[in-house]
């Protein structure tokens, strides 16, 4: 893959930050956008915008075609059986909340179990805490191994015939590990439970096939995979989506409305109350086209190559601790430097033009499990190079020296 040709397509990368060329290593928080996505959003507003599914006029038809065309692209991208099994949402958080608030609250009773892990992002933890509180179901956690991964034996022991929902991230946004979704789906189904997958970190980097994985719900965000912010998607098994009640009511989602009662449209529209994020969906469609032009296999390989390179280079720095497994990591390396707080690391790196994330990464329970209050995280995408990782390593060594001796 021609990395320079790819970088050329991302206007934002070609600037200086604090007197240094930008080194953007925070794509796990949000990726940058290629020209084709920016143009698609602009062209939509300049040429095709109107409200969708309403007007009889030509622009209304063009906007509807653009929006539904994006849905078809999303469905094909994750190999969903049909476009109507894709619900557009604001992002992964909204998608997971939809499953929790609609599906799980209707299904869970006292004595039932919801199984997750301690590596979950807050958005795949708190919705389930709330379901458990509202329904009397018990929230259970598949324990973590010393390297932060989960074992299938522990999954077998935690998921029981009382389990109604298993919800787990495909790739951890802190540990970078890839969870065995296909095997977990098999265990969940054997116990009569459904499986929900947080695909926020996996979808940008890996070929995802929801039918091959045999998952019931799959949630992801556009903005981490070259798309705009404010758009994401929920894939759902048809029979489950069809049985689910909407959680937002209003325009767009109704069939017949009477004074005291109303009926809903078919899926997916019953879950898309109000004027949807049309331009966002168009941008997401363009992002999918962009990624598919490069090829998801190529992107996957590049992410693994950069991550392994970063792991090796960073683990050679004295006093630097990397969290999570050494093998099978995707897209990121989370670390701390002895005696230097990650905010201070991030500030020093920022003065050198290097953008990394510092904090708890919306994973406070995982931070407690790691016995740290916060960590630094460098994350990679298609436009990053090994040279940028070398710059990161040099800057981290300088950070150590600065905090060790260099203070004036």
């Amino acid at each position: 893959m021609n990395i320079n040709a790819i970088r050329e397509q991302f206007p934002i990368l070609h600037q200086e930050i604090n007197g240094h060329p930008l080194v953007y290593l925070d794509s796990a928080a949000s990726s940058q956008k290629p020209r084709s996505v920016i143009d698609a959003v602009r062209n939509y507003y300049e040429l095709d915008h109107a409200n969708v599914h309403r007007g009889v006029h030509s622009l209304g038809s063009r906007a509807t075609d653009a929006y539904e065309g994006a849905r078809e692209k999303v469905a094909a991208f994750i190999n969903a059986p049909a476009p109507e099994q894709i619900v557009f949402t604001r992002g992964t958080t909204t998608a997971l909340n939809l499953v929790a608030s609609s599906y799980a609250r209707a299904v869970c009773r006292e004595g039932d179990e919801i199984v997750i892990t301690q590596m979950e992002h807050h958005s795949n933890l708190i919705p389930w805490q709330q379901v458990a509180k509202a329904t009397g179901a018990t929230l259970k956690f598949i324990p973590l191994q010393p390297d932060g991964t989960i074992s299938l034996a522990d999954a077998e022991a935690t998921i029981t015939p009382q389990t109604k929902v298993v919800s787990i991230t495909y790739v951890s946004n802190v540990l970078g590990c890839v969870n065995p979704i296909k095997q977990l789906a098999e265990i969940a189904h054997r116990n009569g439970a459904i499986i929900v997958v947080d695909g926020a970190q996996s979808t940008p980097h890996m070929k995802v096939d929801v039918q091959e994985l045999d998952v019931d719900f799959y949630a992801f965000s556009g903005h981490k995979m070259c798309g705009p912010t404010g758009i994401g998607a929920l894939y759902g098994r048809r029979s489950l989506l069809e049985a689910m009640e909407p959680i937002e009511y209003g325009g767009e989602m109704i069939d017949f409305v009477e004074l005291y009662d109303s009926t809903w449209k078919d899926i997916p529209y019953r879950f898309e109350g109000g004027t949807p994020i049309i331009a966002g969906a168009v941008g997401l469609g363009a992002a999918i086209e962009f990624l598919e032009q490069i090829g998801m296999d190529t992107i996957d390989e590049h992410a693994k190559h950069l991550t392994k390179y970063a792991y090796d280079v960073l683990s050679n720095i004295d006093g630097l601790t990397i969290y999570g497994p050494k093998q099978d990591r995707v897209g990121l390396v989370t670390f701390n430097i002895d005696d230097v707080h990650p905010h201070d690391v991030a500030t020093v790196l920022d003065t050198k033009g290097i953008a990394i994330r510092a904090g708890h990464h919306c994973c406070q329970p995982l931070m407690r499990w790691l016995n740290v209050s916060a960590t630094a995280r460098a994350s990679f995408y298609i436009y990053n190079t090994t040279d940028e990782i070398d710059q990161l390593a040099d800057a981290l060594i300088q950070t150590k020296e600065f905090f060790g001796y260099g203070i004036e």
Binding site: N18, H341, P342, H343, D344, T347, V348, D350, T351, A358, G359, H360, Q364, M367, S373, A374, F402, F403, I407, E408
Partner: protein, 142 residues
Amino acid sequence: MELNDLYRRVIMDHYKNPRNRGELTQDSVTIALNNPTCGDRISLQLQLEGDVITDARFTGEGCSISMSSASMMTEAVKGRSYAEALDLAERFSSLMQGQDVEFEELEDIEALSGVNKFPARIKCATLAWNALKKGIEPQQSK
């Protein structure tokens, strides 16, 4: 942006050798505050007699800026009346907005003036001062 503007020697000294770190044993007011966006947290204890802060201690976790600021703040407010302490908090807030503020004998605090050039870090510096305000303001209305 110069790093030495931010990480002045006096700041690193307060970070590595914090003053008033620990807990008060006598009756005191405890204020726990955290910064949910970054995970920094402080537990501030104030011993109050009449309208005077007679002692102050803190525990917590955070970056060099938040912890050094807590160290300096506890040093600064000991022995001060509520009104004086709140006035200091007000002046610190102005300092963080880039205004030229004098702290007279409390010159350590002025070392934090460089933080205003790092907007993402201002909330680190103000955490301890916000805890102070949260502790004092209800006392004033008593």
